[in-house]
């Protein structure tokens, strides 16, 4: 009788993953060198798609909007999630109760969140109207110069709880004696936050930032529903949404695959850059030594 599990215990999982997740990743690269309308057989067309992408003004605009969305949502989400996460890490009962409410958006599907905000921001019957004042005059989803920032706001609402959860877990893992020692040394709260909490959370800040970067480069479901496909006009048509529309509404699946590949490459590149700049690797070894 065999006493250790054989390869066959793991083979079904590997095969399943390879077929439905790894193979598509390879296929998308192949498709990026083809012309395909979604019905017939993909026809190889060399680097045509890539050449076309290089001078596609619409694609450049979409990338620009993605960059804005990425930067704005990072700048807004990171401090909020960090502050609330550290706060929620406290063991007080009131904090536990409040945090359980903070995490509620995590339970809602993207469709639910986008539809809820769409209704609330309705210029005629929405919440902004009911609150009155200057808010009532703003066309949050109808004004092309505002729509993208409205999207950033809704995305923040949707994802801050997740990042808060990451920070909460990490803040709870900070050894208490660090704070005790600092208190004895007479360090105030701000100093403790800057000199103990922030450095201890570096690993989490990087993880959370990378998730946000990759997320803004690939996620489009919230925008699709919230702005009826990137509207008004193309004001909120970010790159991944442009990819989806090109593929599934324009039936240019080959060209859309080219965009998908580019988004993954840029996402991976930026993630590696963030890791290098922040010295992620050396930090890991420090943690092991601690």
């Amino acid at each position: 009788m065999r006493q250790r599990p054989s390869f066959w215990y793991a083979a079904p999982a590997f095969a399943f993953f390879a077929l439905f997740a790894a193979l598509p990743m390879v296929l998308v690269v192949f498709l990026s060198f083809t012309s395909w309308d979604g019905l017939g057989t993909p026809q190889p067309n060399g680097v045509d798609n890539w050449a076309r992408l290089a001078d596609d003004g619409q694609a450049y605009d979409a990338v620009g909007r993605t960059a804005i969305l990425m930067v704005v949502s990072w700048l807004v989400q990171t401090p909020i999630a960090l502050l609330i996460g550290v706060w929620a890490a406290g063991r007080q009962r009131s904090r536990a109760v409040l945090s359980s409410i903070f995490f509620l958006p995590l339970l809602l599907s993207t469709a639910a969140i986008a539809l809820l905000w769409k209704v609330m921001l309705d210029p005629n019957f929405g919440v902004t109207q009911a609150l009155g004042g200057p808010l009532g005059d703003i066309q949050f989803l109808g004004d092309p110069s505002i729509a993208l920032y409205t999207v950033a706001f809704v995305i923040t609402w949707q994802y801050v709880p997740f990042h808060t959860l990451l920070y909460q877990g990490a803040a709870r893992a900070i050894p208490r004696n660090l704070y005790e020692a600092a208190t004895i040394d007479g360090a105030g709260r701000v100093r403790q936050f800057v000199h103990i909490t922030l450095p201890q959370l570096r690993y989490t800040i990087i993880t959370s930032s990378i998730l946000m970067i990759v997320g803004s480069l690939t996620t489009f479901d919230t925008v699709l529903i919230l702005t009826d496909g990137g509207g008004p006009g193309t004001a909120s048509r970010i790159a991944p949404l442009h990819m989806y529309i090109t593929g599934f509404s324009g039936f240019e699946m080959g060209y859309a695959s080219t965009m998908a590949v580019l988004l993954v490459v840029v996402g991976t590149g930026l993630s590696l850059l963030v890791m290098r700049v922040t010295g992620y690797r050396s930090m890991n070894s420090q943690q092991e030594g601690a």
């Binding site: 793991a10 390879a18 706060w87 993207t110 996620t219 489009f220």
Partner: protein
Amino acid sequence: MKRNVPAGVSALVWLVLVAGPLYFMVAVSLRGRADYLTNNPLKPPTDPTLDNYRTVLTGGFGGYLFNNVVVTFATVAIVVLLGVPAAYAIVRSTSKLVQRGFTLLLAGLAIPAQATIIPVYLLITRLNLYDSLTAIILPTAAFALPVATLVLTNSLRDVPKELYEAQTIDGASAFGVLRHLVLPLAKPAIVTVVVYTALNAWNGFLFPLVLTQSESTRVLTLGLWNFQGQFGTNVPALLAAVTLSVLPIFVVYLIGRRYLLSGLTAGFGK
């Protein structure tokens, strides 16, 4: 710890921002349509009614709910049935192939599902599965496998070697060890994996969007989107549908908040 004023204030602001929309969602779902259009939507409904819920439940919602349950159960079943033995083999097997496979699986953590929707569509149409619930289940499960296996593997690595060895000395087969040692010890990790996978499947939007089209294969998230077109300005009915779609998860949250939250950050938390 003393009072932390800035964090406390932001926490309160955030509370209003989070609780406000959820209050709005439930409050409006209990109002009549005319009431919503004429009165301030922020005030509590003076004359609450369940009519909207009736409208929604008789408008195809039951079918979407059923589809969602099928998709969620099947996805969870696949992930647990494949993930648990795989994690066991990754921790205990001496086979080099297993370690290579694990590396491949870990690389999958970095693959965003959104970037693969076109090839997944190609694959599903070639397998003649387009517009079926199976079409949603297969890729959803495949993309949940890396995190699931990682969580399971981490929990099994924490099991002392001596426990495995003691079982082996008693003459237990590999399968016996899986049944009598691995399954009981991995229970908390399995719960985390079930929650993570179920939530992903329940709330999934992308794969249903590109892999199905008929009414008979519609899941909840697509149904909500569809309701928006169908009900037009009937916002109370739309929000009743949204509330109904969240309800099952909300119940799970009330029962097992700890498991749900750990399931959410599975693979990213330390």
